[in-house]
Assembly symmetry: C2
Homo-oligomer: 327 residues x 2
């Protein structure tokens, strides 16, 4: 053996410590959920109607930085009574100059009129706009698709168990939304995952008008499913709500000596009412598509290099539906 | 009928509008989970050893307010190799002057040496203290109680399904901690709920030394169970971590232009090393006790006045173990 060859062998042996000598002996690293989503073809992305987007501008932060939150409203058949009211509130500019009044750690951020549904209210509540629909308790049924009658079962989710079974019954995805449903009866309803937006209310039979909204900032409070109307989800700017200072009054409302912590909401607009150049455009990954099935399976069984033991399943709220700006 | 009696009847009729005429006709309102916990006798509260508490002082906030975070370390048999290291780091004052380097929305807050395990590292990592234990990959087994041999099954949880079944297998509570376990094999392990604290690591077989710690600030990332060592939970001051500004570098680390967002950690002390007058004292509600069983059942089936439809179950992470300062 000549010296150069020996050197080559020594070099290869040294390399073998950090990489396999023959890369074909090892299966390629499994893609992460993020890599699967990034590789999804454009045909699997569904554009969200601009009229289903709300643009909520919070007052700039302490450093003067703009804070915009984009909320996607649910499509029919869910919760349309409340959603019609939300568009009415936005178009009447009723939400302008309301504030974030409640930030309860590991629970919700809630915004609305500081003098309504707030234990710290000191003034007169703002009059409601005209044209609101009366959404009474029977309207919770509109959270249940198909009522007590036949309807299509939720779609399969690839190799993942066809319906996710959890402590909250059965779960799946429908038209880009996480849903719960009964095993035999076919009602389905939207569920409380991180970032979902719902309608604040007082004790039943009050169902809330849409004047008070909240979003989830912690453990999914699934005990609220079917008890409060869900109307949408935050799809951009969630951090501007989730990182707000916590309140120390009852239920996480800002207490009397914390009035200065209330973040003003400058404007809330239905995106389709904005000038065309200012309209945001978003799309979600088709939850009936092949890429979503692979993504959900990978969320349930992480095999990318960091992981040792795949979980073997995933909570519906730990499979967030990918949403992005239209590229 | 004399006038006074009529007045009395009128008064009673008026009252009837807001309260039932005969209170016995209506069952009393079901207690809320919080009311059940508040009524638990002192004998059901278990004192946490002071040596299992860490006191972490963050730099004061912008308004000069003190921010102390209290972490409860897990008792044996879980994760004691890492926990011994954490006490070694604290006693060497190694954690003093480290920073919060990562805040990823709906995931984790992570703190440690800014020049270690940080894509934005620019300087030399801090030398580790002497006396650390080597915790290698086989030590993940210490997250599994009883290994592959017999052990006691987790305790029943009152009227709630004996074991909570979820997308992540079976779950229960053991000595005040939420745990996962297999159906037939008896290994049990701690699980990633909101506020749980774990040990940052790089790719396997690295298991982390305890120099980098994180806590969960969103949807329970249960896919991390058995993949990263859990060592404790935040029991006070969680909001000082969960409300920190989010990072915009890879994985939510603060990017190069966000260095000023890193929150300094002034000191971390094992509470039993503090002067007696400064030692905090906490207790948790016995998870084998009658009150906890009622509490868990009420979390799964809310019947207090706000609720219309009880969920019929609860995720293990949506039954947070009550912890309080010793009254």
């Amino acid at each position: 053996m000549t010296r150069p060859l020996l050197s080559l062998i020594t070099a290869l042996t040294a390399l073998a410590i950090s990489v396999p000598v023959d890369a074909q002996d090892e299966p390629p690293a499994a893609p992460s959920p993020g890599e699967i989503v990034a590789a999804a073809p454009g045909s699997e992305w569904v554009t969200i109607p601009v009229s289903d987007l709300l643009v909520m501008a919070l007052a700039p932060d302490a450093a003067g930085k703009e804070r915009k939150v984009i909320i996607q409203l649910m499509p029919a058949p869910f919760s349309q009574g409340w959603i019609d009211n939300i568009r009415t509130f936005a178009r009447a500019h009723w939400y302008d100059d309301i504030t974030v009044n409640r930030v309860q750690d590991n629970y919700v951020v809630q915004w609305g009129d500081v003098n309504y549904d707030n234990p710290e209210a000191t003034g007169k509540a703002k009059p409601l706009p005209e044209g609101l629909k009366v959404v009474d308790e029977s309207n919770y049924a509109s959270q249940f698709w198909c009522g007590h009658h036949i309807c299509l079962p939720p779609p399969p989710v690839g190799n993942l168990r066809r319906y996710l079974s959890s402590d909250y019954g059965w779960n799946s995805f429908l038209n880009g939304w996480p849903i719960g449903h009964y095993d035999r009866r076919q009602e389905v309803w939207p569920v409380h995952c991180y970032g979902m937006v719902g309608v604040g209310r007082n004790f039943s039979p009050d169902t809330g008008s849409g004047a008070e909204l909240y979003t989830v900032i912690g453990t999914p409070p699934r005990h609220l499913d079917r008890n409060i109307a869900l109307v949408g989800r935050v799809i951009e700017g969630m951090e501007y709500l989730s990182s707000l200072p916590r309140g120390h009054g009852d239920l996480g409302f800002y207490a009397a000596d914390e009035a200065n912590k209330r973040t003003p909401i400058l404007t809330v607009r239905v995106a389709s009412d904005l000038p065309a150049a200012e309209q945001p455009h978003f799309q979600y990954l088709n939850t009936d598509g092949e890429s979503f099935a692979k993504y959900a399976e990978a969320r349930a069984n992480r095999r990318d290099p960091f992981f040792i033991v795949p979980a073997g399943g995933a909570d519906i709220c730990n499979i967030p539906v990918p949403v992005r700006r239209v590229p």
